[in-house]
């Protein structure tokens, strides 16, 4: 038994080295002073971190990515919070089916969704590319928003809401004063998870670029296909720090139970 345990823990250790090793390597190479990515690096320099701020395309696409993710998030909240509330609060026929419909964007391959949105939003509906980008990101954020918020509504006792209403509070007042404050951390966690999902998205964004408009992941993708200097390694480190920070907040807000729940 003991030996079996030791073998299993060694195996797990190797699995985690495989999982995290590449991320450590990318971080180390970001300090390479030369122009070619190498491991191990030949010295220590922050020049590629400086380079990120000097290549204007990175700064512009970073801003676009932030704006699209935040606006998309807002839209997804406006559409998703009422839906999540209705799906958790009321029992009605077709509820399971509607639930499935709201989660369906994750079933459609991202690259297929991106292409169909390009084909119809831009060409048939004649929308500007930025609008297509925003709509596409809202579509993929919606399932995350609804799932996380519905799961925090599961822990909310709707009797409290009924009590408030029986004391004379209006529906809307109860929603804002009783329901929302109770699921506050769930909503914030949903926003952060959806933000990361949208910020890292490639499959939709890759079709929604035009003159002067692109997102950071797409800019990184294009850059890597043309240059092989340590700039992308430096950006990667910054993105990983951002991810770790958001992850820490998500953990504080609702733990990691959401991730292991199917």
């Amino acid at each position: 038994m003991k030996e079996g345990n030791r073998a299993l823990s060694l195996y797990t250790l190797l699995v985690f080295i495989f999982l995290l090793g590449p991320l450590v390597i990318i971080s180390i190479t970001s300090f390479e002073p030369g122009t070619v990515l190498k491991f191990p690096p030949e010295g220590f320099s922050l020049r590629w971190y400086k380079n990120i701020f000097e290549v204007s395309a990175f700064m512009e696409t970073f801003r676009t990515s932030i704006v699209i993710s935040l606006l998309g998030n807002l839209l997804a909240l406006l559409l998703g919070v009422p839906a999540a509330y209705a799906l958790s609060r009321y029992r009605f026929r077709g509820r399971d089916m509607l639930n499935a419909v709201f989660l369906s964007p994750v079933l459609i391959p991202g690259i297929v969704l991106g292409f169909t949105l390009l084909r119809y939003l831009i060409v048939v509906y004649n929308l500007p590319i930025v609008a297509g980008l925003l709509i596409g990101h809202t579509v993929i954020m919606l399932p995350f928003i609804i799932r996380v918020i519905a799961s925090s509504l599961e822990n909310f006792d709707f009797a409290v809401e009924e009590a408030a209403q029986s004391l004379g509070a209006t529906r809307l007042f109860t929603f804002f004063k009783v329901v929302l404050p109770n699921i506050r951390s769930g909503i914030l966690a949903a926003v952060l998870i959806a933000f990361l999902e949208s910020f890292n998205n490639v499959d939709i964004s890759v079709f929604m670029t035009g003159p002067g408009i692109s997102t950071l992941p797409i800019q990184m993708l294009t850059y890597v296909q043309n240059y092989f200097d340590p700039t992308i390694a430096a950006i990667s480190v910054i993105l990983m720090v951002l991810t770790a920070a958001l992850m820490f907040i998500i953990e504080r807000l609702m733990g990691f139970a959401y991730f292991t729940k199917r």
Partner: protein, 272 residues
């Protein structure tokens, strides 16, 4: 139906109808029409063409191997995590979630550093004298597969962990008290009860690999899979008809795989 519920659901439903269901339905419909006539020509053209069949085969092969490797690496790791101390468990869970939330561009790029001509693997192999010329690993299906395993391994670990946490440990204890060895208890109780989870995790990995774009685009070089071929047809060749046909083929494969494997997982589920 409840009227209040409907009012709250409507905005979201209209949004999804306008920006997902209708565009996809129209895309599907468009593949059956050519010059105003109903036809299967779009599809026949693809399957008669050896090039597309090769791409489809590469994609399926890479996805199948990725799924298998993820199962072999992920299952024991998830089992270990589920049995370890609370402290270790939360650290290992956090270390699995972190890559999952990290940009796929970053994660694929890290493999370019490792697998490249002057990358870590080649310099190790050349410096130790095992080989004298660097291997071509990057821009091959093998590189794609390694990148995809790295991309989806956390997903299968986390899925399996969820299943293992819900496992009734009383059953294992009962088996042990009746004289079963730890290995027998694992083989007769734990494993059968977690197989449906393994299949569900496998679906996620297989479908994810089948439709992933970033990893094959960065690590595959000229080697195409269906997703990069769809992109190439749409954006480089501007052949939207061809791209639509590929899109529909991808949707169909995804739904067939999910449906079949779900049915299989349900049949194996002892709780029915």
């Amino acid at each position: 139906m409840n009227k209040k519920a409907m009012v709250l659901l409507l905005p979201g439903l209209l949004f999804l109808a306008a920006f997902m269901l209708i565009p996809i339905t129209l895309t599907i419909a468009s593949t059956f029409v050519q010059d105003g006539k109903l036809t299967l020509e779009g599809y026949l053209h693809f399957f008669r063409d050896g090039y597309f069949n090769r791409i489809l085969l590469t994609t399926l092969r890479v996805s199948a191997v990725t799924t298998l490797v993820c199962m072999v690496l992920g299952y024991p790791a998830a089992y270990y995590i589920s049995r370890t101390s609370v402290r270790k468990k939360s650290v290992l869970l956090a270390l699995s979630i972190f890559p999952l939330l990290t940009s796929p561009v970053v994660r694929s790029f890290s493999w370019m550093i490792i697998l490249g001509k002057k990358g870590l693997v080649n310099s190790l192999l050349v410096n130790t004298g095992i080989i004298d010329k660097p291997l071509d690993i990057l821009y091959t299906p093998t590189a794609m597969m390694i990148g995809l395993v790295h991309l989806f391994l956390p997903l299968i670990i986390i899925t399996l962990l969820g299943v293992m946490e819900n496992l009734d440990h009383e059953l294992v204890r009962a088996a042990r008290s009746l004289g079963a060895s730890p290995f027998t208890a694992f083989r007769k109780i734990t494993f059968p009860l977690t197989v449906p989870g393994l299949i569900i995790g496998g679906i996620l990995v297989f479908v994810g690999s089948l439709t992933a774009y970033t990893t094959p685009a960065l690590l595959g070089g000229k080697e195409r899979v269906v997703s990069t071929f769809l992109y190439q047809n749409a954006m480089t060749l501007n052949d939207w008809q061809a791209a639509s046909v590929i899109a529909v083929i991808m949707i169909v494969i995804t739904f067939v795989v999910v449906g079949l494997m779900n049915a299989w997982a349900n049949r194996l589920n002892p709780k029915g």
